[in-house]
Symmetry: C2
Subunit: 175 residues, 2 copies
Amino acid sequence: MVFWKRLFSNPSDSATSAPTSQFNGELLDVKGETDSQRRIFLSTERDIDLYELEELCDAVGWARRPLRKVKRALTYSFLVVSMWEVKGNRRRLVGFARATSDHAFNATVWDVVVHPSCQNKGLGKALIKYMIRQLRNEDISNITLFADPQVVDFYRRLGFVLDPEGIKGMFWYPD
Amino acid sequence: MVFWKRLFSNPSDSATSAPTSQFNGELLDVKGETDSQRRIFLSTERDIDLYELEELCDAVGWARRPLRKVKRALTYSFLVVSMWEVKGNRRRLVGFARATSDHAFNATVWDVVVHPSCQNKGLGKALIKYMIRQLRNEDISNITLFADPQVVDFYRRLGFVLDPEGIKGMFWYPD
């Protein structure tokens, strides 16, 4: 897996703390972190193992989706953000989100997930803030999403507005 | 303009009804149409004159947007649908809509517009139905949009569901 190789380009590095600096991502400062060996990174690299992503989605109880289609969705998403827990020479996918976009005006955020073992530590917040920053860097000014009822307040605290000017989210599903 | 050429590959055709059959789109059966010379076509061709599109958006009072960004949005939209009024050898853009997508699961419809002179004739309905059909052909099953309050009922009649299972549309804008 290329991602893994990139993280530890030299296997002998694995026992030191150096490898994390080679990680193509952003180191997160996690408040109240007691494990000094544990690092959390955010990345826009797309080289995500589909089985590891499926495992993460399983952990939050999402319905399984064909990996062929998941792969296609990752390829054609405008932005893919992943969150990694790095401990020594091990890394684990602990968060994920992606966004579709017209590359000009709008983006829509989909599939936001944080592993249950990492929830309530501000990591979801960091994931979305990172996403907003990436989209703003691309000059996208209208960032949208469809929030399940239990996360509406979470997104509100991050600056998302519910039904602005009465604009309503609507869905069409096949019969 | 390529589109125009395609429509009338031979200028001498223009006085006959033949050219419309060369149109790379779908002829619409407009109920109660009194003008026998008038034809309405739907197309997924992307070769749309940006100034003509701007004129259409002006007609419904939308705020102007940089054409450079509009061009980019058209390029990176998954689907672009245009509606054309054809009379003899003239054609006019009378409707437009586009959708972003991950090419796998979701699509989001943006910028739906029908020229005021063509409203209340079922053309908007035909436009959206055509769009749904195109997206379904691409195996997209989750078609979403953000509806202004005055068009919520319009989309509801087309099978769109408002806030299904309490899912809420949310927007983030820059400060």
